[in-house]
Amino acid sequence: MYEKEEQKLTGFKDRLEQVALPLEAADGAIMQGLERAKREKLQARAKRKRTLWSLAAAALIILTLVTTIRVSPAFANAVASIPGMEEFVELIQNDKGLQGVFENEYYQPIGESQTIGNATLTIDGVILDESGMNIFYTIESAVEMGDIVIEGPALENQQDVPPSSISYNHPITQEDSPRRYSDILGFTFQDPVKFEDLNFTLELPIILDGTKFDFSVPFTIPENVKPSIVYEMNEEVEVEGQKFTVKDVTIHPLRIGVRISFDSKNTMKVLQFEDMRLEDQNGEVWGSIMNGISSRGEDENGDYVYFLQSNYFETPEELYLRINKMQAVDKENASLVIDTEKGSLINTPKDDNLEMVHSSRDGFELTLKTPLEEEFNFGLGAGLTDANGKKVDVASEGMGFKEDNIRSWTVDINDDGYINPVKMELFAYPNYINGDVKIELKK
């Protein structure tokens, strides 16, 4: 019927096949495309875990630790009995404390939703304690969702909700475009609080494929919190000449807070406790440092609070707080000072492990050599101030992997006329001091 047209097309094809191809250059093009995709995947992974802090001295962990913890049959059963929970299993199975919450039916199903246009937000359920609220939610859309941006979630109650740090996963990766997306919004309250009235509203503005949706979902939590357990400690310990006092340990269902104050005469600034944990008399670990938000910055008393996974629902006979190593840097080198125009590192820890890759007023990239035996999974810090102490508008910052022991720290700046040099207080750094701290938690 269309023989002539088909012949014509076949003719094109035959002639096209005569064209010489740049086959050697092709391999180069393939490698370039591959490198570009790999680089982006790493950056995406580094940015996946995002945490918002409202505290001044706040800091964050950007990389998500990937650990495998055996899922107990009790946990599996508990989760299987709640409809819709299967989508959250992946998000909670790495936290022993959350597993305990489910095994003990402390998760409270809600099921309130709001539909705007073709998108629906459902609050599946919450876990509330005095330290924070985890909100399990689902966004559904009639069409495939390509991109969700979550903008400043907020909780409202008759009472003031304390300033909170909020953690959530970066919603959608470019690889998949689902019609259903589930995640957990984790609010960590600055100070423990107990709400009298359990009617809340979640304000969740999102931008879904370029369109803004201002979700506002009221919900009522059926039961109030279980009380947190406080252990008063006030014990001073010393590690490599650096002294600190463990003031108290508070065990909430969602997390354990360990409050510590550092001796002002210390020569080093202690950053992170990577192996802080609670152990029983047999050395079994009951709570290890949390993924995500691992600590809270200095409060008005100069205290820091470090968070561990909770053992609220199961307490052994004896419990000890153990610390063997901590990240610490000399106080005078505890901040990064950078001139973004000259591309120079003016102040850094004195180990020559940080190097400037490139820098301009729009941002910079540093590489960090980490000890081979250490899994350093932290961001270096959060936020910059300029030479006048003014906050610099940071568009994004993130840690990526380059090689096994090389990380890359990238900061993008919206240039609003800041004055060089800029400064960032270190939140974490792979320089360690070692000791053996063991303090009993006495009731």
Binding site: Y2, F12, E17, V19, L21, G33
Partner: protein, 175 residues
């Protein structure tokens, strides 16, 4: 040298094996470059297309369900990229005569691109798959998840459009 089973390579690449992915790209680089040359004007642009195809394919290889369709899947990525480029820069194809610096290096390409330019994006893909890659109607239907009958009727409609284009050209030639 040993013969590699293309499907096995694709299967490994889908599972995230980077080496297999590179092999997969190398196996199909000729077909991909030729595809790009059918739509774009020169070698340089074709290499860009290959780079972009590699980039997009690596990011999405996990979504490829059937290893046997790896080649057509890659070609579709290339065509999509080429079509995006053409939209961005219509002077390459729309009117070969007036776009002096952007005239295709090769007359066949020019003629082909002119013919393709009167078709919709989907029709361009269909024609390319059927007549340049010899993909069977059955496989096109499976790939697009539509009935074979639909593929056939679309093909007829497209050929009809091409007929009037070629005939128009023919008359022009006689004038």
């Amino acid at each position: 040298m040993w013969v590699v089973d293309d499907i096995e390579v694709a299967r490994k690449a889908i599972k995230g094996d980077e080496e297999a992915f590179v092999t997969l790209m190398q196996i199909h680089k000729e077909a991909l470059l030729r595809t790009a040359l059918a739509f774009l004007k020169n070698e340089h642009d074709a290499l860009e297309a290959l780079q972009e195809t590699t980039y997009r394919a690596f990011k999405k290889i996990g979504t490829l369900k059937e290893p046997a369709y790896a080649k057509t899947w890659l070609i579709r990525i290339t065509i999509n990229y080429c079509q995006d480029q053409l939209k961005k820069d219509k002077r390459y194809v729309r009117d070969g005569k007036s776009a002096d610096s952007a005239v295709s290096d090769n007359l066949t390409q020019l003629e082909l691109q002119e013919a393709l330019s009167i078709l919709s994006a989907d029709e361009q893909q269909l024609i390319y798959m059927k007549y340049f890659q010899d993909v069977k109607i059955k496989d096109i239907a499976a790939l697009e998840k539509i009935p074979e009958g639909t593929v056939k009727s679309r093909l007829h409609k497209t050929l009809r459009t091409l007929r009037s284009h070629f005939e128009g050209k023919g008359e022009m030639d006689h004038v």
